[in-house]
């Protein structure tokens, strides 16, 4: 798609050599390159614009005579800024409840059901928790079966009720079941929904209100493009979610949506999905994500 940003910037910054300092005029072309690279990496157009303004402010007046490769100076500025925006230390989950309730949310096909399984497996094997998976997708064909297959794979019980069509009731009954049977984490899988689907957004708001989860997670496909900002904002407006899960990072997407989402909702990215298998879960590293977005 595009070359390494560093090489591109080296070319663009070449004109700066001999100018001594970075100025509004001589840095314009470079900033345009950065903006294009970010947009090509699926960073939202407006966010890429704001981001380059910030980088410009930091770059103005910097001495480029001493820098052997002006591109490197600029790349470092860009990378540091990206890493900072992406968040600091990896943030864990709040598991203080008894049981702790974790609610999944997100668009269709983003990876909620798969991630529910991965998280249950992670909490069971790495944190010695006793998780319960809950099937609250009453719409997608075979969604409940899918969660049962996943539960069987990892040896975690799945609570479901094919007769009950109200996810609020299912989740409440599941939490009662967890309390009565010594489960200390309850992971609630929900149906995929679009932010513009008012009825479905009301439904998840109702689940959220009824069960007051310790953690509400927004699961997003890392291949998402410009629309990531709309979706993240709409889900956050309704759920005020606690963290983001970025899935399918085993692909070769640049993952610029991560920056868009961080910027627009300012919530930490807590985990990433790196495969279809139950073990393919990892914590999120801001600096690795910055490298990835920049193609480095």
């Amino acid at each position: 798609m595009f070359d390494n940003l560093s090489d591109k910037l080296d070319k663009a910054m070449h004109v700066l050599k001999g100018h001594g300092q970075i100025t509004e005029v001589n840095v314009a072309e470079t900033l345009k390159e950065i903006r294009r690279a970010l947009v090509d990496a699926d960073v939202n157009y407006k966010i890429a614009k704001d981001f380059t303004s910030t980088v410009k402010e930091k770059a103005l007046g910097q001495d480029v005579l001493t820098a052997l490769k002006p591109g490197q100076l600029m790349t470092k500025l860009v990378k540091d800024e990206l890493t900072e925006l992406m968040g600091g230390e990896a943030e864990g989950l709040n598991l203080s409840g008894n049981p702790s309730v974790i609610l999944m949310s997100g668009l269709q096909g983003s990876g909620k059901t798969t991630f529910s399984g991965k998280l249950a497996n992670f909490l069971k094997t790495k944190k010695t928790k006793k998780p319960l998976l809950v099937a609250c997708d009453v719409y997608r064909p075979a969604a409940i079966d899918q969660l049962h297959v996943v539960g069987d794979q990892i040896g975690v019980e799945v609570y479901s009720n094919k007769e009950e069509k109200d996810p609020v009731k299912i989740s409440e009954a599941a939490i009662a079941h967890a309390k009565a049977n010594g489960f200390n984490v309850v992971i609630i899988d929900t149906a995929g929904r679009l932010a513009v689907d008012q009825a479905m957004m009301n439904e998840i708001a109702a689940i959220h209100k009824a069960i007051e989860p310790q953690e509400t997670l927004f699961v997003v496909d890392s291949m998402t493009g410009q629309d990531a900002v709309n979706t993240a904002k709409a889900f956050n407006d309704i759920l005020n979610f606690d963290g983001v899960i970025l899935t399918k990072l085993d692909g070769d997407t640049r993952g610029g949506a991560a920056l868009s989402i961080r910027t627009v909702v300012d919530k930490p990215i807590k985990f990433i999905g790196t495969g279809e298998k139950m073990e393919a879960i990892d914590v999120f590293y801001p600096s690795r994500m910055a490298d990835r977005i920049l193609g480095m």
Partner: protein, 282 residues
């Protein structure tokens, strides 16, 4: 009073709309350059004309099917007409198959589905539910069985049943996984043991909310299976799916269908002009 040239503000605005619709930088520049050329030649008069030119230029970039733009869900009269459906994880392959089967069946065609996703949890059950909904037969094996063998069985049964259309589901796979892509090539090849030139169509399903990575998807799936058509799903949300313009242009693959919901009727035949118009709707 007419203007002889589009001002920068109009072009900036256009750039923002295209890029925000996931058209991508390169294709956006290509479109804007073409518009500037046209404007220089035709003499731009007003917004009306600009809009017309824009639609024409974008539509011009997009490849057509061999029969021109499709206007309905008809398939060529070749029996059985075999469609293999491919794409990355979670884009909407299985759902699109259900919706397509419904459309074909509605025309009185005999449809057979093949449960070629033997990997993902409950994938076979999911396709079975769609087959029941549409009331068409499904050919399936156990979870974990060889998808090529399922494809072979499906095409063979279809011939025996004298079916009109066969649609074969495959497991979602990321295009950078070499083994999985090779598996897909094999699935395709095996059908040719039954019918020389099967499949007649390889439909790549793209999620309308996907950004520039869709290019790489198109490239790799084409390399593995010679994709012949595209379906863009989930356009009932706020995502615009603009990346398919560049894909259709570069790989000369037509977009045939769009998915606009989860229901059985939520599939439409692709219409270039409506597609471009949607970018300008908020």
């Amino acid at each position: 009073a007419g203007k002889s040239k589009v001002d920068d503000e109009v072009l900036d605005n256009l750039e923002e709309i295209l890029v925000s619709s996931d058209v991508g930088v390169a294709t956006t520049i290509k479109i804007i350059d073409r518009i500037e050329e046209r404007v220089a030649r035709d003499k731009y008069l007003g917004t009306e004309e600009l809009n017309t030119i824009l639609r024409e230029e974008i539509a011009g970039l997009m490849s057509e099917t061999n029969f021109g733009d499709a206007t309905d869900f008809s398939v060529p009269a070749k029996k059985p007409y075999v469609i293999m459906v491919v794409g990355v994880n979670g884009v909407g392959k299985t759902t699109t198959i259900g919706k397509l089967a419904y459309q074909f069946k509605k025309q009185g065609l005999n449809v057979v589905l093949g449960a070629g996703d033997t990997f993902r949890a409950a994938a076979i059950d999911q396709l079975q539910i769609w087959a029941d909904r549409v009331d068409v037969p499904i050919v399936k094996q156990q979870m974990g069985s060889d998808p090529a063998s399922v494809a072979f069985d499906t095409v063979q049964s279809a011939v025996k049943m004298d079916a009109d259309v066969v649609i074969i589901d495959t497991a979602g796979r990321l295009h950078n996984k070499v083994n999985l892509m090779n598996e897909l090539t094999k699935v395709k090849r095996v059908m040719q043991k039954v019918i020389d030139d099967a499949p007649d169509e390889v439909l790549l399903v793209l999620d309308g909310s996907t950004g520039q990575n869709a290019f790489e998807q198109a490239k790799q799936f084409t390399a593995a299976t010679e994709v012949t058509s595209l379906a863009v799903t989930k356009l009932d949300g706020t995502a615009k799916g603009g990346v398919v313009i560049g894909i259709s242009d570069q790989f000369q693959i037509p977009v045939k269908y769009i998915g606009v919901g989860e229901g059985i009727e939520d599939l439409q035949v692709f219409n270039k002009i409506e597609f471009v118009d949607s970018f300008f709707r908020v």
